[in-house]
């Protein structure tokens, strides 16, 4: 028996398809959740929950490709397995180019479905680790005061306390205090770590290759 490593989010406008796929995948040992439309899914989407999408390509209203697009611009792009008819070749190509994990033709057989699910869950686990790092760094950065953010930007650009103090018009001692608070709040054990975290959090100027 396989170890389920995430939830399978099934989005299909057809109730019978939703129910049967959910039954089958639960019988295979997975956790499932079903949604009747793309907006229904988006309304409840929690990027922090591991798992992948099993998505109908052709739905009335917001279609599968539009949902894929919406996820691509959100904070976490969840892996997607598309279910479709054979006629949707051009759409399939578009979806694959946009990062879909797989494309299965309805009716879909167990081996194809479970193989695609395993692959999608593996991709989710790998991408999730990177996402958590980024997300964690950004969350910690958000706890800094405006002054601490200023100090952090100066620190990661390679300036020493004395320079920073002169730039910000304050005492070196004060900068030291800010700096240690920044290190603590960002959970950084060293300057190298702080630079990496700032880069993950998307702080401008933290990228060493960026020159003005």
């Amino acid at each position: 028996m396989k170890k389920p490593a995430g939830t399978l989010f099934i989005v299909d406008d057809d109730a019978q398809v939703r129910r049967s796929l959910s039954r089958l995948l639960r019988a295979c040992g997975y956790l499932t959740r079903t949604f009747a439309s793309a907006p229904d899914f988006l309304a409840e989407h929690d990027p922090a929950v591991p798992g992948c999408l099993i998505l109908d390509l052709a739905m009335p209203g917001m279609g599968g490709l539009e949902l894929q697009e919406a996820l691509a611009t959100s904070s976490y792009r969840r892996p997607i397995i598309f279910l479709t008819g054979r006629g949707d070749i051009s759409k399939s190509v578009h979806a694959m180019k946009s990062g879909a994990v797989n494309f299965l033709t309805k009716p879909v057989d167990i081996p194809d479905l479970t193989a695609a699910v395993e692959e999608a869950l593996e991709i989710d686990a790998a991408e999730r680790a990177a996402w958590l790092e980024r997300h964690g760094a950004a969350e910690r950065f958000a706890t800094l005061t405006p002054r601490e953010r200023q100090v952090l930007r100066h620190v990661v650009s390679g300036k020493i306390n004395k320079q920073i103090a002169a730039d910000l018009g304050t005492a070196e001692k004060t900068i030291k205090v800010h700096r240690s608070r920044v290190m603590r709040k960002m959970h950084a054990g060293s300057l190298v770590e702080l630079v990496k975290l700032a880069s993950l959090a998307g702080i401008p100027g933290s990228n060493a290759q960026q020159h003005r």
């Binding site: 039954r23 009716p107 879909v108 167990i110």
Partner: protein, 77 residues
Amino acid sequence: MTAPETLVHELRQPLTAILSNAQAAHRMLAAGSPDLREVREILSDIIACDKRAAGILGRLEDMLKTAAPKTRFGHGE
């Protein structure tokens, strides 16, 4: 007006549900001590889906009958 392609596409839905339902029941029975109420629900859904598929097929047949004889033997264009 419904195009034949739309009906063909529509036919995939009950066929998908029938296959997944049957495979789910198969797994449940193989795993031992199946929830018989769920198996019964699955069988009811399979019957409903099959009837739905037959309905779509009927509409497709009507469409082919009303199509001009010329196009019946032609190949698309």
